[in-house]
Amino acid sequence: MRLKIILYLIFTFYLVILVRVYQLAIKEHKHYSSLALNNTHKVLYIKPKRGIIYDAHNVPIAYNELRFSILLKPHLTTPTLQKTLQFINTYLPIDIQKVTKIYRRNNSFYNHDDIPIVEYIKYQDIINVMPILIHNPNLTIESDYLRIYPFKEVLSHIVGYVGKANKSDVAKNPELKYIKLTGKNGIEKQYNKILTGTLGKKNVIVNAKNKIIKELNSTKALSTNIQLHIDSTLQKFIYNLLKKQDKKGSIIVMKTTGEVIAMVNYPSYDDNLFVRGISTKEWRKLIHNNFNPFLNKAIAGLYPPGSTIKPSLGLVAIASGKLNPYQKIYCPEEIEIGHRKFRDWKEGGHGYVDIFKAIKRSVDVYYYKIGLLLGIDYIAANLKKMGFGKKTQIDLPNERSGIMPNKMWKKRRYHQSWYMGETVNASIGQGYVLVTPIQIAVNTALMATGKLPIPQIIRKIGDKYIPTRQKDVLTATQKKFLPLIQRGMWQVCNSIGGTATRHLAKLPFFIAGKTGTAQVHSIPQDVKKRKREDELAYWKRSHAWLTTYAPFHNPQFVVTALIEHGGHGGEAAGGVISQIYRKLIQMHYIQLKKHHKKR
């Protein structure tokens, strides 16, 4: 009896096993089969070589250079470590103390990876001693590519730099876990996906020790080179121009259709520092510099546009039908609105002024009156369309929009209603109005051609040209009156009394433009005669604008300059801009035809 029970028990126990095996091998067979497959199938990744960035004439401005690193095994004893370092030192001079420190810092108990002690050794430095070094069992030599930016400060704001991919980068693109480097700024960031490329994959079968038993198939690693519109020679020329004269600011050279030929900021920084990981000391030096070398002022520096707003506002006023361009309006030295005096820049005023004189002489009071005539909301809506206080959509990261204020904006921002005086200030590009230099360049192109271009740095991706785009933002009426404004802008640079005429050295063709002086601090009410700009302390001096286009009869290029605390626009930037135009001729960017030339 008991024996029978025990036999039944045994039978039941074996049955339980059978049920369990049934569950594993039949019910969940698929699951376990895929697990078995996962065990053996591994994918090996091949890193793509990051795409090269060329300038408009195929000069590489970001490329990869083969470099070598020496790695030591972890957990070496002090005598072995010293012996190994001495051994390396006999063939390849190294700073033993520094290297020892690096090794100690990384040699944690939990680390089982080899520790890199010297990185980025040049090929020619290591190639002769490599056969000797690799025989030491304690060290390995690995090769990797270092991203090089040969133009350093000159192009850093445009090209940007690569850095180690962090967690959020990897979350966006899982392949970065293997590629490791990703674009962190500038073009490197903007076109990161194209430059990074895709991993090559090799499907293999491995055993439990991860040894490859068989290769199945593979795909190649791919990446694409790109070309920019930037001309590195011109860029360097302009950078050196600013550097020599120590003019801090931003200069943009752009085709009227939007191709950015040069975009220079001074001061700047060396982007190569970031590739290897910038040190805290160097980073602090960059960040705490009062002149903001890290800021791409051309697209992210915010300044009041000052008088550069005047051609556009003039056009808006004429096209509105409320202003007769030929009517001479009396412009005294000041007008009073609500117990507040608004003065012209010129003591004594300009007398009777039409639109041409208003642009040529940059008559403030004329514009105060226009402003009051149109009202802020009408002005803001129209000027925003013309590029003020709005992102230009240039193909660079971190562009800022600036501000083109209206009543609603002020309500939302400050919970206050709008004052008339603020309309007056906005009419001469002061007060709340803030723009970036690239916005002024784009607006100048609009004044020159009637089309608002989207500035573009990229020229080619792989073999494919990327066309530029222009937006048709002007109304028919505005287009009709545009030539009047252009005439005013011509007078700025060429007529006697034009605010830039004296400062533009003689050029063999006509250019047109507008000066601007953007105040950074307000002038007390009782001061009648303004101080000369160069008598002010540096930080109180106004920012100087000069934006131009040329040739006048066939506008092809826009050159816009902002000189921080440069004082008067024409004075501060006229010389530089003349030199740039001369360089453009010399480089055959501007082909002089007969009708371009001055008679």
Binding site: R2, L3, I6, L7, I10, F11, F13, Y14, V16, I17, L18, R20, V21, Y22, L24, A25, I26, E28, H29, H31, Y32, S33, L35, A36, L37, N39, T40, I205, V206, N207, A208, K209, I213
Partner: protein, 369 residues
């Protein structure tokens, strides 16, 4: 030397029942490693020699040798405790100084213990079941090695001995009242033992088994699960061939078998084990008056069941991982030879059931022992 009667009583079925296991083992081990296969051929040969020696040894004549072997084995276990070699935290091995050989005395304990049980029961046969006092008097034979082996610590082997020992006593005969009390005691004692008597790593193993299986078990389950209905070719049995399945030839040989032959193969193997233990246990009623042979058959039947069950169960996460081989299948000389000795003794007990001496001419079949 061996007369016709002995050959007549020799159980060829029992012997032939071993061949499928040996065949399967040789086949699997050959596929896993040709080197291990050569070793296996060697120890199987030795195993058969041991079988023959154990068969021919007139154990019923020299019964005194049983307590002698038992206590020598116990002494060796104590020796392990005092001078043993510790491998991976468990002190299970004894180094023999001159010939530089390590032995694992707990491996042989199952043989000497079941013989000792048979000896003791033969000396004090139960009269319609053991009483509580009688049971205590016998069970020290089980508890002494249990404590010594559990202390090593090798709780798995110790518990298997405990189950086999007491299972045998229950089969031989225990009074109903004692049996019920024993079951109640166990139900109370197991939770207590888990909480207070187990070491951390042992509790971990049990928790692992209840929760997430370890790497070994996971790979073993993958092997079993990927085998499917009919199993996979040698080349496609990647779990074993590419060495993801650890110790595939020994403790986890069942997983390879299942990967190779699938669910159908498992039915065959389980039937073989069931039939073997059934066959051994069925001798209990045939030999019900032979109080020496009967308990030994009972315990061997239980050993085959408990060992095979625990081993297979751990490979499919039905039991915690313990170092218990699959009887006759796992690659391992000591375990195999040990089993062959046991089966030799069993054949001896059958063949010379009616003879005390090999050339005993007197025929007295009816009297029995």
């Amino acid at each position: 030397m061996i007369n016709n009667k002995a050959i007549y009583h020799f159980d060829f079925v029992l012997l032939f029942l071993l061949f499928p296991f040996i065949g399967i083992s040789l086949f699997l081990v050959h596929e896993i490693s040709p080197i291990l296969f050569k070793k296996e051929i060697a120890y199987i040969t030795i195993g058969f020699v041991a079988f023959l020696v154990a068969f021919l040894f007139p154990i019923r004549k020299y019964l005194w040798i049983i307590p002698f072997l038992y206590f020598v084995n116990i002494a060796l276990l104590v020796g392990v405790d005092l001078f043993g070699v510790s491998i991976l935290g468990a002190q299970r091995w004894l180094k023999i100084p001159i010939i530089n050989l390590t032995i694992q005395p707990s491996e042989f304990m199952k043989t000497t213990m079941i013989l000792m049980l048979g000896y003791k029961i033969y000396k004090n046969p139960p009269d319609k079941g053991y009483t509580f006092v009688e049971l205590i008097k016998i069970s020290w034979i089980i508890l002494l090695p249990f404590v010594l082996i559990a202390k090593e610590p090798d709780l798995g082997t110790a518990l298997v001995l405990l189950i086999v020992g007491f299972g045998t006593l229950i089969i031989v005969g225990v009074k109903r009242k004692v049996l019920i009390n024993g079951i109640v005691f166990l139900l109370v004692f197991i939770p207590f033992a888990y909480q207070f008597l187990l070491k951390d790593y042992q509790r971990n193993r049990i928790n692992n088994f209840l929760g997430h299986p370890s790497y070994h078990v996971k790979q073993s389950m993958i092997a079993v699960g990927s085998g499917g209905v009919f199993g996979k070719d040698k080349q496609k049995a990647t779990q074993t061939q590419l060495k993801f399945l650890p110790i595939a030839s020994s403790d986890f040989i069942f997983a390879y078998y299942a990967e190779r032959f699938g669910f159908v193969g498992v039915i065959v193997l389980l039937s073989l084990y069931f039939f073997l233990s059934y066959y051994l246990l069925s001798y209990v009623s045939i030999l019900k008056n032979d109080f020496f042979a009967m308990p030994i058959f009972a315990s061997v039947g239980l050993i085959v069941f408990v060992y095979s069950y625990v081993n297979i169960a751990m490979t499919i996460n039905l039991a915690p991982v313990v170092g218990i081989p699959l009887p006759l299948l796992s690659h391992g000389g000591t375990s195999f030879i040990n089993f062959m000795i046991i089966f030799g003794i069993l054949e001896n007990l059958l063949a010379f059931k009616y003879e005390f001496l090999y050339n005993f001419n007197q025929e007295n079949e009816d009297e029995g022992l």
